[in-house]
Amino acid sequence: MAKIPEEVLETLEMEKKICMLTTVNEDGSLNLVPIGSVKAIGEETLAYACCFEGRTTKNLKEGRKRVAIAIYKPPKEGFQVKGTFMKMHDSGELFDEFSSKMNPMLAGMGLNCKVRSVATIKVTEVYALTIPIAGERMA
């Protein structure tokens, strides 16, 4: 387990940040997709909303639980958070919190989808991705 550094927490609160989450497919290839809803819940845990029954969710549900998230902080900074998938929340407080915030937003964007579940990730490592310190471990 690793404590998420303050500057990463601040970046996750930013509207303009971009998060890309990668999981490992059955054949060992990588699935890499943008995830807009990543947020910290506590010092060592991230959560994000699953709005599609896609390959990311499939990989996690099938037991390939290791993930890496690249976080871009405009204009030139970045972080990588590595972690382990913990649980898929299909109901409860966390699910309700994400649903109440995101479902109206998704509808407003004209998208025919809603929050299906909320995934939680236990953070294990955090690295800088900003040149010239890219690769340095932060936590």
Binding site: I18, M20, G28, S29, L30, V33, R66, A68, A70, L129
Partner: protein, 133 residues
């Protein structure tokens, strides 16, 4: 090897688009880093500069697989699955590419990674996961 659709080539060539490269270790641990220098060479091949590649380079040479994701400012996004084909430190193409990189960011690449495109998917919110080729 497949040919990327025109819109995917354009997205990769977009200097303002965010590009992320994901690799995996032999033990199944993924790694995802921002690589601003990813560009298409043609419709079947992609390259990027080694400015400070650590785990990414190590994983590439050991497992051969990686995925590039690109997202443009209008949120148009694609996922490109690739096979590693080579790492060159110098030579005609590498020297030209390195010169372009240096002009833009004043950093000298240690080498250039090249790969072939194997599969392309949409990662846009309007069509997530759809296989394009």
């Amino acid at each position: 090897m497949v040919e990327m659709p025109k819109e995917v080539v354009e997205a990769l060539a977009d200097f303002h688009a965010l590009k992320v490269v994901a690799t995996v270790s032999p033990g199944g641990v993924p790694n995802a880093v921002i690589v601003a220098t990813v560009v298409p060479i043609d419709r079947k091949t992609i390259c990027f500069a080694d400015l400070r590649l650590g785990k990414t380079k190590e994983n590439l040479t050991r497992t051969n697989k990686f995925t590039v994701a690109v997202i443009r400012q209008n949120m148009e996004s694609y996922q490109i699955r690739c096979s590693f084909t080579g790492y060159e430190e110098r030579g005609g193409f590498v020297d030209t590419f390195a010169e372009e990189i240096y002009k833009k960011i004043k950093m000298q690449p240690r080498g250039v990674v090249t790969c072939t495109v194997e599969e392309v998917y949409s990662a846009s919110l309007t069509n997530p996961g759809a296989r394009l080729v």
